[in-house]
Amino acid sequence: MLHIKQFSKSYQSNHILSINDLIITPGVSWLKGENGSGKTSLFKSLAGILPFQGDIILDDVSLKKEPINFRRLVNYSEAEPLFPEFLTSKDLVRFVGKTKGASVDQQDQYCHKLGVDQYFTKPCGTYSSGMLKKLSLVLGLLGNPKLIILDEPLVTLDESARGILMKLINEKLKDPSVTFLLSSHQSMDTSSLPLQNTYMIRNKSIEKL
């Protein structure tokens, strides 16, 4: 269970988002909001990438008090992933996989399913945006996370990759303690994804729909 307490995010004097108290239960939750509403800032804060005021607790592990344990439980896949151009998928998957505690078998399995294995040893600078997205999704699924944040997971993915991603999400959801937090401008196909909750970010705050 994800508990966001007294959350406030600002960039210098520009206040972006406040969440007084929010509990997100395991399953798939969809976060909606206009461009610039603060979705990505919230996601990056949840992933420990951006600092914020307040606290975030996941399965009794506080991001502020146990930053390392918390990061072990949270994976994040960016909306528009960018990696250093000279690095290969192999470099990134092996490095991130090791730190996230993912076995080489698991790493290879996700790479194979999403088709990343076809360009595994090629540098990222030669990838299309769809290939970068697939790599980012593989990195977002590695290990045994309890919270998986996928920012715009469907953007730039082809139809077959979308289907594979839905299957992978459903596989992960077999563990009842796993939470998926997704944002998408496209409408979600609820027949392939058991959508639990939908949230809307507007006027610098969040509300459940």
Binding site: G48, D91, T99, G125, L139
Partner: protein, 370 residues
């Protein structure tokens, strides 16, 4: 046209000086902190005494020109600078004039020193040196201008992978240290080469002084301080890499000890030339333990720099005053013969005290994330 020049000045010139603030600060510190005007005049008179000696500034200006060209090349390759390609629609004369304005402002420190040398040569009536210096400056300025013009014209180039890179990617796997050092070498080759040459020359020159006179460890400690302080620029690049280029690093469950280990390993890889030079030329009259103390001293400075730069909104420019004061304070401590190990221990403790808090609270502001 003024809007166009304004954009070019902000993206090429201002950014160049901002990113190299530390480099210029050290040059200014060395040139004006330790040398008097009579010494400057004596050096200028010596350099201009014969066109052969003008090769010395020519080499240094070439390195500086290389640094400028690599910076411009990198700027042109970034995605956010794609708009610059539109400049090719303007008349060639306008493009060249705009490139010249940028090159002139970037090359200004060399032009200023060149003017001082030319004035000295004119005063001493050595016409051959005057002609040689003017020719060198004009050629270098033309080369930088032309290369910038070409870089703006041909922004989009096909991504090619060399056979060697392809082979190494297939057979080896990179560590995080390689992630960072390779990124630095690819994105800032000019800065990397210039700093390495400067730091190595500094260490080598100081070590050579011990052959002609009897000094204690303090001279080498001060020389090493200058050399290591120059490398602080890499600390700021490490932060940029960790927080923007490869921001995923912040999401990884790495203990602080491991993050410090990666940082030290990266700095060790980058400072390998200085360390080899220091070991090979280490003065015989000093005890070997002084070598270890100097290396530890250097790495304690890196960690303090890393911790200080991670404080909210701190960049090298914001910290330049503090860095300069710390530099003077460390020089004074060395001059008062405070043991290097003691200074290193205090500096390390200061760095480690704030590091975890600074790291988790750090946020790279957008204007710095370039």
């Amino acid at each position: 046209m003024s809007e166009l020049n304004n954009v070019l000045q902000r993206t090429f010139v201002r950014e160049f000086y901002r990113l190299n603030a530390m480099f210029f600060l050290i040059i200014i510190g060395v040139a004006f902190g330790f040398m008097r005007d009579t010494e400057h005049k004596a050096i200028a008179a010596f350099i201009t005494s014969s066109p052969v000696w003008t090769l010395v500034p020519t080499v240094l200006w070439s390195l500086y020109g290389f640094k400028i060209c690599s910076f411009n090349d990198q700027v042109c390759k970034t995605k956010e600078m794609n708009f610059i390609h539109g400049l090719s629609l303007l008349p060639i004369s306008t493009q060249l004039l705009s490139a010249l304005r940028v090159a002139f402002n970037q090359f200004l420190p060399a032009i200023a020193y060149g003017s001082f040398l030319i004035a000295t040569a004119v005063k001493n009536n050595i016409i051959s040196s005057v002609i040689s210096l003017i020719a060198v400056i004009l050629i270098q300025l033309s080369v930088i201008t032309y290369l910038l013009y070409r870089q703006i014209e041909f922004t989009h180039v096909e991504a090619r992978v060399s056979f060697l890179k392809d082979w190494s990617d297939k057979n080896f796997q990179k560590s995080f240290t390689q992630f960072f050092t390779e990124w630095l070498a690819r994105s800032q080759p000019g800065m990397l080469v210039t700093i390495k040459i400067f730091a190595c020359v500094m260490i080598f020159a100081v070590c050579q002084l011990y052959r002609y006179d009897d000094y204690d460890y303090r001279l080498l400690a001060m020389g090493s301080l200058v050399a290591f302080a120059t490398n602080l620029v890499f600390t700021s690049q490490f932060i940029l890499f960790e927080n923007h280029i490869f921001s995923m690093m912040r999401n990884l469950p790495l203990p602080m000890s491991k993050r410090i280990f990666y940082f030290f390993l990266s700095m060790l890889a980058l400072c390998l030339p200085e360390l080899i030079l220091l070991t090979r030329n280490f003065p015989r009259q000093l005890h070997i333990y002084q070598l270890l103390a100097i290396v530890l001293f250097g790495f304690s400075i890196f960690l303090l720099g890393y911790s200080a730069l991670l404080r909210k909104n701190n960049g090298l420019e914001e910290l330049s005053g503090t860095i300069f004061l710390s530099f003077i304070a460390l020089i004074i401590l060395i001059l008062f013969s405070i043991p290097l190990l003691l200074i290193s221990a205090i500096v390390l403790l200061l760095a480690l005290y704030r590091l975890p808090k600074n790291f988790y609270e750090f946020e790279l502001l957008n204007e710095k994330a370039k």
